[in-house]
Point group: C2
Amino acid sequence: MLKRYLLAPGPTPVPSEVLLSMSKPIIHHRSADFLPVLDSAKKGLQWLFQTKNDVLILCATGTGGMVGSVNNFFNKGDKVIVINGGKFGERWIKICLSYGLEVDEVIVEWGYSIKPEIIEKKLKENPDIKGVFIQACETSTGVYHDVEAVGKIIKGYDDTIFIVDAISALVAHDLKTDEWGIDIMVGGSQKGFMLPPGLAFVSVSEKAWRKNETSKLQRFYFNFKKERENLAKNQTNFTSPVTLIIGLNEAIGMLQKEGLANIFLRHKKLAHATREAVKAIGLNIYSKESPSDSVTAIESPSGIDGQMIYKTLRERYGITAAGGQDKAKGKIFRLAHLGYSDIFDIITGIAALEMVLKSLGYPVEFGKGVARVQELLM
Amino acid sequence: MLKRYLLAPGPTPVPSEVLLSMSKPIIHHRSADFLPVLDSAKKGLQWLFQTKNDVLILCATGTGGMVGSVNNFFNKGDKVIVINGGKFGERWIKICLSYGLEVDEVIVEWGYSIKPEIIEKKLKENPDIKGVFIQACETSTGVYHDVEAVGKIIKGYDDTIFIVDAISALVAHDLKTDEWGIDIMVGGSQKGFMLPPGLAFVSVSEKAWRKNETSKLQRFYFNFKKERENLAKNQTNFTSPVTLIIGLNEAIGMLQKEGLANIFLRHKKLAHATREAVKAIGLNIYSKESPSDSVTAIESPSGIDGQMIYKTLRERYGITAAGGQDKAKGKIFRLAHLGYSDIFDIITGIAALEMVLKSLGYPVEFGKGVARVQELLM
């Protein structure tokens, strides 16, 4: 018998309450039944996104939200900055290039975070930059970028919008969309929202909507203007994924009971305890700067393949964590603490890690990492 | 946010697979749909009970099965032995007395197990004893009684039947019904079977059925002869709890995949690790002899109320364990490892216990109990 535990940075565990809400009979998305459902969801998302902006709900993965954040606001040849500190920074570049944008890539070494002054300098030197793309949390490296600082710089440029992939950061991190001048922020249901995959969320500021008016890039499925018009009528442009939106309302209800401050504090504490436990075991955190509160990237000890740690956790202990991606593959593994996560998820992950490391020949004193979690989270 | 963990000796956690199977549309118990369902359930129960006997399925709690085990096989004034080593031994006495049986009570000190030779001596001296009642696992004290030894003694007496309350022992303990001469054995769905409460199971030997023929005690709901006749037709006497029986088949399917030997070994290992972890923390096991593989009864340290440990586990950490009952109330608390339980359930329980004890002023070195579990179960 192997019980299954999900400690990956998405999909994350879905609470029974949410699963049950999604087992209700399917309603029709153009019927009166659906209007209050979407109305509630859009207000709940504004609360979570800390914004007065529209938050569009798309039937897509987070990447779909990223695509729409490019092809609704730019034109061919537009100069944009992409902050590339990992796998998902690369994704911004690929999407921008596929639409013919001219990308000024700011490479950030994997495991490090952006120096906001680089962006400040670039914008001063190139006032024709139309947009700056970033990850709030770069999932592949476990690094949180200082979105606040970058956002406040971009605020000063009327023709430059700030686009944040917050797919793995939302709910875990306190992201003040309006206050920090985040023009477009993308989320995905299967992360902090405690939902199955299938929904992307995108908040859009008035500054971004103005750019939408002149954007002529090809778009049909991700047509944000049409989504906005529909949203005003509590509808979506195409068939609404009614089940997931009903689940979203249930999840937001649970989060609202907890309260924003408590949610962020919980994630901060779980992340801190995870890092401290990992260090107590003698391992290093891969994120050398600004480790995120969503996922912890951990260097595998020398001589041990990070993929073996991932594999052994999964096969021997039923725990699905995450390995490394691309150039970090084999060198790291990742433990998430995102969404429906509590102290015993961390203890489970750390206890299993201790056992896996020992079985792979790394000297571990059992209980040492767990004890650190207990001390910090008791 | 408080996630909930169920570490009580029943109800126990129900796997998603079983919950989902119970969400299928309700079928009619007198329709052809139901016949293969009950057929499969009765064969599955015979496999789990290790018996060729009929295993009746009752819509009742385990106590209902206990009542039926008295009023179907005895007559007013019949002399019976009841082994009373805890709360559930007392329950046998209460039921027997309520039907006018003459009870010879064998008191076993709480926390200790029966000496089989006492039963041997009593039967030799009183050949008119019609039945011997026992618990396989006395849930209130966490003690496993040597059912095998007692059963083999009773086998030698043609007019004496052996009735075992195995409600909290079944699935966790290897109980060889036929080989050991267990004439009547009672189970309950919400224990090792990984089901919600609602079903009692009772196996009945031919030796017991012969006594049924002469038993004249009042019975209407728990009429085992009628249940047996119905069972032969893949029916139950009254409305069958179809949902629970569908869930039972699903659970038995999961258990069959694991295999009897692995199931018993898993429970033995989890129980052993729990006891060793508790000792590593410096606490004493309440069961001085023959601790069960279903539930571990633990003495609370001097000066700390066992109920406070139970209460703090539940309120601060979302863990429902169990307190003490009757005269053990306040002195002990109990952690179960029964049914859908694995290493991380034990680690969760022990880690939480360490934190609760520390918060109540007991000196604990964090991770010490957890480390013991890791060493033993890695």
